[in-house]
Symmetry: C2
Subunit: 322 residues, 2 copies
């Protein structure tokens, strides 16, 4: 019997992941770049135990549904295979932020699971191997393994597709102010959504420019150039949602208050308050600004109709054993 | 001195026009299909008079701005050239619907102008020639010349790009219920917006599928198949707005209540109320349904937050001298 605990932050992508080259392996259609969100975290404990008759999962204090257990067992199977063990595991995981809040909890959850499970099994995986393992549970989880500002590489093989840190969390005092618009679960989650990307007539055009946008975002991060980051981030975000809303069936994740934020942020920028927005596969809007402007951004977002509340996070570190 | 009066209906496009092959000639990047809107109309009188020192334009009872006079003079110049006359003209035009209401008044205005001006100049232009002339003032005006359900052909020459009736106004008792969300003028009008289409990485992909969507819409109209029309209309609409929101600068015409309608209509459809939506370069939403369902659609739209009021129109006839 052996146990390990790990924690990881969720992340927000500036250059988005949407669509896969290989759904089973979660090899993404394009590379992506994100920032880990400090303060928000999933903490997961894995205990392999020969006395267990099956894998068990307790999520935020309650037994998980069968589909969630199966997804976790998929990662545990990979770990058992690498470690040459057969014991089932008890996994206990909790988030310090609400699930279904539009903050991708699967990113932090599978990053923490990959680290805790591999350590509990006696493996010492390097960062790339951990990122690859986390990727198998949720693509965006690959980005929650390295620290700070992170790029996940697209590739044709499992071996080559993992995330690396572009810059550590101390590199740039960027703050993500999240306008929470809905806390309901998404009607179509990311795992179900990715296979629809190729049904959009726009996905190929979106992918054709991805390398250029990745380079622009990478440079903007390294140069701490928020105006440049905002421009490419908003374009990339519109491209992803354009693909979503033209897939079959159409996925329209924006809600009316999302659009209010999307109109407000460029108007604030025109007034001199530098910020940029992005949305994941959900209605909540992430507004990136300098730390010095974050309080003002929070006040303004809080006044917009339909914004329930705001959360804030600066750049977070790597997944860690704890 | 000679005078003629004409009236024309605005139209709502099911397959959208966005982007030009030739901006000066208003040769569109792709073909489009629309329905004239009965009950809504522009009525225009043109009087050529050798005593005038310049063209004059009275719009809805008030002298028009210089830019509007210049745009009208462009059409009058074409008419004078065809008729071999040199007199300036006084043009009096009024709409029975509010300008800037998201109902493209330029479509009915330039269709009525083309007919009134050519008749006042003693020309007897056939429908194709009138449609081509109207096109020079506003692309969508080419579609307000023929009757009912109308297709405007894309082509590389002025001679070949005009609109024809796919089916007359009596063919199908479709009703357009328009959710009026804003009566303000658009920040970026269509004439300024079309040149931006090519700055979107998605325009080429949108154009690549246009012929297929045109064929689907044409067939849906001929077969009076609203489910098929709704599917292709909403896809085409999302494709156009995808191009708009990914152009540089980004054009985000939707407002929060627009999105409320866009979520509501598919939900109603799932309940059995068959309808489809489309938006022009503005926030108002056009909801197409069978006449038998139009009252229910109007009631439901009127209850959505941010919908100021609704207007309704069935299929309208051709531009006519009056």
């Amino acid at each position: 019997m052996s146990t390990a605990s790990a924690s990881a932050h969720p992340n927000i992508a500036f250059i988005k992941y949407w669509g896969n080259r290989d759904h089973e392996l979660r090899l993404p259609a394009n590379g992506s770049i994100s920032m880990n969100l400090a303060g928000l975290e999933t903490r997961t404990t894995v205990r392999f135990d020969g006395a267990l008759a099956a894998d068990a999962l307790v999520l935020n204090g309650a037994p998980a549904a069968a589909a969630q257990v199966a997804r976790v067992s998929g990662i545990l199977d990979l770990v058992r295979g690498m470690a040459g063990i057969t014991e089932f595991a008890e996994v206990t995981s909790s988030n310090n932020f609400p699930s279904g809040s539009g903050i991708a909890s699967s990113s932090s959850a599978f990053a923490a699971l990959a680290l805790a499970a591999s350590a509990a099994a006696g493996l010492q995986l390097d960062e790339a191997a951990l990122s690859r393992l986390a990727r198998r549970g949720s693509g965006s989880a690959s980005r929650s393994v390295p620290a700070g500002f992170v790029e996940w590489r697209a590739a044709d093989t499992d071996e080559e597709s993992y995330a690396v840190s572009v810059a550590g969390e101390a590199h740039w005092d960027l703050v993500d102010t999240i306008a929470i618009i809905s806390e309901e679960h998404k009607a179509v989650g990311s795992t179900a959504g990715h296979p629809l990307a190729d049904s959009s007539p726009l996905q190929a055009a979106r992918l054709a420019g991805a390398e250029q946008r990745l380079a622009q975002a990478r440079t903007a991060i390294l140069q701490r150039d928020l105006a440049a980051l905002a421009a490419v981030m908003e374009l990339d975000n519109h491209l992803m949602h354009a693909v979503m809303m033209t897939s079959q069936p159409a996925l329209l994740y924006w809600q009316p208050p999302s659009l209010a934020v999307m109109h407000a942020v460029p108007a604030w920028r025109a007034e001199g308050l530098l910020a940029g927005y992005t949305l994941d596969a959900g209605p909540n809007v992430h507004v990136l600004s300098a730390a010095a402007d974050a309080a003002e951004v929070a006040v303004r977002l809080g006044k917009l109709p339909g914004v329930l509340r705001v959360m804030q996070a600066s750049a977070g570190g790597a997944a860690t054993l704890a």
